[in-house]
């Protein structure tokens, strides 16, 4: 099997698995328990918190553990607007966010908040001028993702942070798709809140992180016991936290070398695809992208058919966000970049990872060539090729 869907999820790294084992086997106490056995578990949570703080460049007390990227996004958005509800009701986001942010914004609209969805350029980058113009007195939160999950396109978060800081507006960035892929300390991006998720960087499922810059107004969201500085209730998932901390450590250790390796593999792949297959479009490729992601539109064919054609040949790719697999609408991200519904429908995401090698990509190019040729033979549409 050739797995080229690392933006959907990643395999658990053996070192992360090893880091989890003691807490699945011997040290299974509840970290809140008042005996030494409990303290060991508590110490593991705090050790993990320290490891992550170190990797992202913040204080341990600024790291909040929760159950995943989706929860981290929900906590950030709902926690900030709740904490600041007396200050205003306007939220600024983009048209290309992950559903965890987008649908939360929609839910907040139903609760009476006003949301601006910023457009993006043809290359999928949010426009700073539009962002600046959107800010008003009632703006309490800006949430713009760091790297897009479908295209890998990187948003100008440092610039946004400068703007929001000057305006006194809280800024959250969903860094689920950039964490561990860039040689960059996430807390130094300048955002007040940063989301990332264990299973997207070779850590376990069931753990997410929210970095909360000290002093950022944030109301608790999941209520119950006084875990996570009172910000997130629920017995701590010690094994997952330990595994995540190990994975983050590994990812940040290797981000630079692995980034170079993946970037050159990805760029070579795109060159090969461009050479082997006519009428393709590399979405967002003129913009800065995370090194592992390539989003390609194949004219006159349907993306789902390409996915199945490759699946049959043992290659795993997807049409976009795994969460919207059952959504018949063409990608909201590509549509926001100005692609026609048909072009968006013909798009496929290839996301490389630690285990990807050049031979995998050679095989993929060849399988892709056959599949697209077959589908174009069947297709009733003949675009520019006619």
């Amino acid at each position: 099997m050739i797995y080229l869907d690392h933006n959907a999820t990643t395999p658990l790294h053996p070192r992360a698995f090893e880091a989890m084992l003691p807490f699945l086997k011997e040290l299974w106490a509840n970290p809140s328990s008042p005996y030494r056995f409990g303290s060991q578990a508590k110490a593991a949570v705090e050790f993990g918190r320290g490891q992550i703080a170190n990797c992202i460049g913040c204080k341990p007390s600024e790291v909040v553990f929760c159950s995943g990227g989706t929860e981290s996004d929900n906590l950030a958005l709902r926690g900030v607007v709740r904490a600041l509800k007396s200050k205003g009701n306007h939220i600024v986001t983009t048209a290309i966010e992950h559903p965890a942010v987008l649908n939360t914004c929609k839910a907040l609209e139903n609760e009476g908040y006003r949301v601006t969805y910023l457009p993006v350029t043809e290359e999928g980058v949010v426009e700073m001028a539009a962002l600046r113009a959107s800010l008003c007195d009632g703006t309490i939160l800006v949430t713009v993702m760091h790297a897009n999950n479908e295209t890998g396109v990187i948003q100008p978060v440092e610039e946004i942070a400068t703007t929001t800081r000057a305006r006194g507006v809280v800024f959250h960035t969903d860094a689920v798709q950039s964490a561990g892929k860039l040689d960059r300390k996430l807390a130094e991006l300048g955002a007040d809140l940063v989301t990332f998720s264990g299973h997207k960087l070779y850590g376990p499922r069931g753990v997410g992180v929210l970095y909360v810059r000290e002093g950022t107004p944030l109301a608790p969201w999941m209520t119950g016991g006084t875990h996570e500085h009172g910000l997130r209730a629920g017995t701590e998932n010690v094994a997952a936290i330990a595994g995540c901390a190990e994975a983050v450590t590994l990812a940040f250790e290797e981000a630079e070398t692995e980034g170079h390796r993946l970037r050159s593999l990805r760029d070579r792949f795109e060159l090969q695809v461009g050479a082997a297959i006519q009428a393709v479009r590399f979405n967002g490729s003129e913009a800065q992208r995370v090194p592992n992601t390539s989003n390609i539109s194949f004219q006159d064919v349907d993306g789902e058919s390409v996915v199945l054609g490759l699946d049959v040949r043992g290659i795993c790719v997807s049409t976009g966000s795994a969460c919207s697999t059952d959504d018949p609408e063409p990608s909201h991200v590509l549509r926001a970049m100005g692609l026609s519904p048909r072009a968006a429908q013909g798009s496929v995401r290839f996301s490389l990872g630690r285990d990807t090698c050049a031979a995998d990509l050679d095989a993929t190019v060849s399988a892709l060539k056959d599949t697209v040729a077959h589908l174009r033979r069947v297709s009733s549409i003949r675009g520019d090729l006619e």
């Binding site: 139903n110 349907d302 058919s305 199945l308 059952d326 018949p328 549409i381």
Partner: protein
Amino acid sequence: MNPSPDDSGANDRNRGLEAPAAPVISYNEVVLDHFLHPHNVGELAKADTDGFVVVGDSSCGDQMKLWISVRNQRIAKIAFQSFGCPGAIATSSMLTVLAEGRTIEEARLITDDDVVEALGGIPAKKRHCSLLGVQALQAVIDDWEKRGRAPPEQP
């Protein structure tokens, strides 16, 4: 007990609970085979074409072209082209297999259930794909009729 839910989205949810949409599409072997090796792909020569139609499903963006050649009230040749998901391709292919050699009268009776059944089933949310094929078949017969061939004689 079931208090009637209000309009805050609970209704959608409940419908969801009764028939959860499977987020992963699993096609069976027959469907896969028709996707990988569709029958009757292509177009008919102008001279052969007694009916031709283009239909589209605006909701999912799929499109299908269908050609028929009719001899003695019978579909002698049939050809299709499809742009769309694997379901669209496989159902189109199966539709042509079912229609080929049939009388116009018989072809008129082919339903989307027939197509799905012949394929041994198709994921629930891909059912609409089979409708497109059946719609195309009706439309292509309409086209053939419009082109002046007499409708079948009443027995």
